[in-house]
């Protein structure tokens, strides 16, 4: 077809609005008479709240109201358990969810104690200082291992300990694998993932129209439909009375899928209680304390191999920091547990994790969602094994990756989507070879290092390379939907329920639909994230937009295409098989002068007079749903060349290569952007970003001055290549790509830095991420047997 748009690097349709400042973000919403909200937050990580007095705050000029937990009456309740535990035999799970305003007990610094509503945000913040409260500090449980001690301060006093979950999954017979092994390596690994730090903080605007009895909420959420349904239930409204709009969102990356945040519960209630529009916009400091993190795991892991370097089995026992509450269930640690297996043949696996409550901000998925942690453990174990066996790191991976005839590959354990972990497809060996060719692996691996490429004696820096593999379960269910309508103008409207945070949905979904309807992509207008436009679906998470919503758009477009062909066949008196849809028209193949515009067909399908046949549905419109049986398996290989200055432990990334396979590509430009942006976050995770808590549970670097996001000076150019192994689990063959870039970077960084320092420090083992120049310096000193 001449108008082919699917698979093309179409420039984004949403960009003009974003580039000119016309795009509406939540903080851009203004309503007449709108009031502004500020939250009083706990300065302590753990405390007993004895009393709170709002009298002075309420009497300040400009303050409309102030509320604490008891003022919420019956509305005060624990938030929902967003993700119940998957059906894993003997899994222990103690759900404890957050509350709108603290009552009796405070469990992390930044937990809201009270809320003030005023005529301006400035006045609302002034009034926070007027609030008198008696908060008795308690001892804190902040360090992951110590929090499990029998005498650790108890965060949820109705539980016997700070244990939040205990889950073991097994495949094969690890004990037998270990007994048969030639090489067994065991190490302790720590992996800490940080703050998503979207440049737009969170926000909620709520407007209760008393006369129409309708509530409208603008929310920076990745999941507007579940927010609508949940709010209706909480507020005693019907779902049809509540409209939730997730307009343009300034980056999501996971924490904006969390629900219900306390502020998300309180702000709509305030709007109804006060009968006025109410706005709360999070500031950056609040974002560090009150928006969810991902944070830390500690793994004690062991790998058993034969003397050829083939994996016989892996055993892992890890602790997962879940923070003060665990509304997101087991998603993050299960992702770690499952993704650890990578693209490899692992006949035996024995993995146990314990999730632990700590006096810190809640942990929920952040781009990668625990997959980084698992990938780090497996890739580092393989690197150590390669060193032990005197194998090239690439060679040990070649010997273990699954071959194309081994798919679907059953791992016999349960994934976060409640299904068995099954890889639908994959083609890993060509990806490895492609990455090797791009970084010139043989030459760099041998030639890099102590001399580097510089003339000896002029530069003392050390060069090294690394290469790692990963898979990612993407595009999980349950389902998404889309409605496609051809309007009488010939324009096409598409509505879907997921929210959008920069992934190019307005363009990618338009391409999917335009491809089937033969219209210019600019004629397709996509609406996402508005429950009035579409109210079935779950949200944007788990790299699922292009897979699940994309296939729903495809299905709806196919259904509309069939309607177009039927109506055109009648109008032009030809067989449907003789028609093609091109240029916004239905044309007779071989006789293009016999044609009818789609807009005219839309009018024929929506007659104003006369009779229609029984059962006729008006218009050229269809609503379709897509729900995959399980997630689609994306995969990739990343390679990196670094230069380490051994006198400062500063590391510069010279080259970064990504060979990625996410099946069929809808828009390669958008895909490339997703991958590169993910890598930038991975680089931050590897060397710059870490949430640093002191022993009192105070976050020490809660500002962008102290928590270092990588800038353009730190992120190198990233070279990408794409292989296409379509998923058999959906008609488009797509796999998710949103999280991929961020997943293997920490493991890769560790390997490349070790390689760079191999001549100086042959025994250096990097078993933790994030690093920093300081931390790497300490590790280098330790490897020399010196004090830092």
């Amino acid at each position: 077809m001449s108008s082919r748009v699917f698979g093309e690097p179409i420039k984004r349709l949403e960009d003009p609005r974003l580039l000119t400042g016309d795009a509406v973000f939540v903080d851009d919403v203004e309503r007449p008479g709108m009031l502004h909200v500020a939250f009083l937050r706990s300065p302590y990580a753990h405390g007993r709240l004895h009393a709170i007095d709002l009298t002075d705050a309420r009497s300040r000029d400009g303050v409309i109201a102030a509320f604490a937990a008891d003022d919420l009456g019956a509305y005060w309740q624990h938030g929902p358990l967003l993700v119940p535990p998957p059906p894993i035999a003997d899994a222990v799970f103690y759900p404890r969810t957050q509350v709108p305003l603290a009552r009796g007990k405070v469990r992390h610094a930044g937990e809201p104690l009270a809320v003030v509503v005023a005529t301006s945000r400035y006045i609302a913040e002034d009034a926070l200082d007027d609030i008198v409260y008696d908060l008795e500090p308690l001892d804190v449980a902040i360090e992951l291992e110590a929090a499990l001690d029998a005498d650790a301060p108890r965060i949820h006093e109705d539980l016997d300990s700070n244990l939040a979950a205990d889950v073991r999954q097994q495949k094969g017979d690890y004990a037998a694998a270990r007994a048969a092994a030639d090489v067994i390596l065991e190490r302790r690994f720590t992996y800490d993932h940080g703050a998503a730090a979207a440049i737009e903080n969170r926000g909620v605007v709520a407007d209760w129209d008393r006369r129409a009895e309708r509530l409208t909420v603008w929310d920076t959420t990745q999941a507007p439909i579940p927010i609508r349904n949940g709010l209706a239930g909480l507020l005693g409204l019907s779902e049809s009375q509540v409209r939730v709009v997730a307009p343009f969102i300034g980056g999501g990356f996971g924490p904006k899928i969390m629900m219900f945040y306390p502020e998300e519960m309180v702000v709509p209630w305030l709007a109804m209680r006060l009968g006025k529009p109410v706005k709360w916009i999070e500031d950056r400091e609040e974002n560090f304390f009150a928006t969810t993190h991902e944070r830390s795991q500690i793994h004690q892991a062991e790998i058993a191999l034969d003397r050829e370097g083939r994996i016989l089995g892996v055993r892992d026992d890890f602790l997962h920091d879940t923070g003060a509450y665990n509304p997101y269930g087991l998603t993050v640690p299960i992702n770690s547990q499952c993704t650890l297996l990578g693209p490899y043949r692992v006949p035996a696996y024995d993995s146990r994790f314990r999730a632990v409550f700590t006096n810190a901000t809640i942990v929920t998925p952040y781009r990668g969602a625990g997959r980084q942690h698992g990938v780090f453990v497996m890739e580092r174990l393989l690197d150590l094994a390669a060193r032990e066996l005197n194998l090239d790191p690439v060679e040990i991976r070649r010997r273990n990756v699954l071959e194309p005839d081994e798919f679907p590959h059953h791992h016999e354990i349960i994934y976060q989507d409640f299904s068995e972990l099954v890889y639908d497809s994959g083609n890993h060996r060509p990806a490895i070879e492609k990455a090797c060719a791009m970084i010139d692996w043989e030459r760099e691996r041998d030639g890099a290092g102590i001399q580097g490429e510089e003339p000896a004696g002029t530069v003392d820096k050390r060069r090294g390379v690394g290469l790692v593999c990963y898979v990612e379960g993407t595009g999980i269910g349950p389902y998404e939907g889309a409605r496609v309508t051809v309007e009488s103008s010939g324009s096409v409207s598409v509505s879907t329920g997921i929210g959008t945070q920069g992934q190019g949905h307005f363009t990618a979904f338009a391409q999917v639909v335009a491809e089937q309807l033969g219209v210019a992509v600019e004629r397709v207008r996509v609406v996402t994230g508005d429950t009035r436009a579409f109210h079935w679906g779950t949200g944007t998470f788990a790299s699922r937009g292009a897979v699940v919503a994309g296939n729903a758009c495809h299905a709806a477009a196919l259904a509309v295409r069939a309607k177009i062909l039927r109506h055109a066949s009648e109008a032009l008196e030809v067989d449907e098989a003789d028609l093609e849809l091109v240029g916004g028209e239905a044309r007779v193949v071989g006789a293009p002068q016999r044609r009818i515009a789609l807009g005219d067909l839309a009018q024929r399908a929506n007659p104003l007079r006369g009779a229609v046949a029984p059962g006729t549905e008006p218009g050229l419109e269809a609503t379709s749903y897509f729900g995959p049986s399980r997630g689609a398996t994306a995969s990739g290989v990343h390679a990196m060349e670094v230069e380490v200055d051994p006198s400062t432990a500063m590391v510069e990334i010279l080259r970064y290569i990504v060979v990625h396979d996410c099946g069929t590509v809808i828009n390669p430009m958008i895909l490339d952007g997703q991958i590169k942006g993910g890598v930038a976050q991975g680089i931050g995770n590897a060397f710059y970003e870490q949430l640093i808590y002191d022993s009192e549970g105070q976050l020490q670097n809660a500002s962008l001055m102290d928590y270092l996001l990588p800038t353009a000076a730190e992120v190198p150019p990233i070279e990408t290549a794409h292989l296409v192994t379509p998923s058999p689990l959906n008609p488009l063959g797509t796999k998710g790509a949103g999280e991929a870039g961020a997943i293997p970077t920490g493991a890769l960084f560790a390997q490349a830095v070790e390689n760079a320092l191999r001549e100086d420090l042959p025994d250096l083992e990097i078993l933790e991420i994030p690093l920093s120049p300081n931390r790497l310096w300490e590790l280098m000193c330790a490897a020399r047997g010196e004090q830092a």
């Binding site: 420039k11 984004r12 949403e14 960009d15 003009p16 974003l18 580039l19 000119t20 400042g21 016309d22 795009a23 509406v24 973000f25 903080d27 851009d28 203004e30 000029d61 400009g62 400035y122 998503a196 730090a197 979207a198 440049i199 737009e200 903080n201 343009f248 969102i249 300034g250 980056g251 999501g252 990356f253 500031d283 950056r284 945070q501 920069g502 992934q503 190019g504 430009m669 958008i670 490339d672 952007g673 997703q674 590169k676 942006g677 993910g678 890598v679 930038a680 976050q681 500002s703 962008l704 001055m705 996001l709 800038t711 353009a712 000076a713 992120v715 150019p717 990233i718 870039g741």
Partner: protein, 169 residues
């Protein structure tokens, strides 16, 4: 509130003259966004690090969150709303961002654009290192910066012209 505490502010934003009374503590970013309704200037940190609120103050790129509205009396300001032509034609830098996929969520984008307009005026032919240096005070969490660097490089022969409203006056 005591009315005598209000300060008269007269200034020109994107070619339009405004007169308002403001509290002395009102941030310029809030003034532009909420008093003047120019919400294209975004607020990401309010401590001068992220650069999303970057505007042009008398031709220089500054952070609107680090200034009070009362400090800019008599000034000429350009925000992102002042870059494109009145007929909607994108400024060449905006068009370059679109062509090179230099934005994803778009929240940081106005700040990048307004950082780069004076940079390109002074350095019409920068190399990649200079471009990266120029934008190293702006944070983008989506793109990994490469599309932004590519966008700037694509203009580096000609430089970026002035914002549309300045060119017309």
């Amino acid at each position: 509130m005591d009315d005598s505490a209000l300060i008269d502010v007269a200034l020109t934003v994107n070619g339009t003259h405004y007169q308002r009374q403001v509290e002395s503590r009102l941030l310029l970013s809030d003034f532009l966004r909420h008093d003047l309704g120019l919400t294209g200037t975004h607020v990401g940190c309010e401590h001068g690090v992220c650069g999303a609120c970057t505007i042009l103050l008398d031709g220089e790129a500054v952070r609107a969150c680090l200034l009070f509205a009362a400090q800019v009396r008599g000034s000429t300001i350009t925000t992102v709303e002042g870059l494109a032509a009145a007929d909607g034609t994108l400024h060449p830098l905006q068009e370059a961002f679109r062509q090179a996929h230099g934005l994803q969520c778009g929240f940081c984008t106005p700040g990048f654009l307004l950082t780069l307009v004076p940079f390109l005026a002074e350095n019409p032919n920068p190399d990649d290192r200079e471009i990266r240096q120029a934008i190293s005070g702006n944070l983008c969490r989506c793109t990994g910066y490469q599309g932004i660097v590519d966008a700037v490089r694509s203009l580096s022969r000609t430089g970026a012209p002035k914002p549309a409203h300045e060119a017309e006056t």
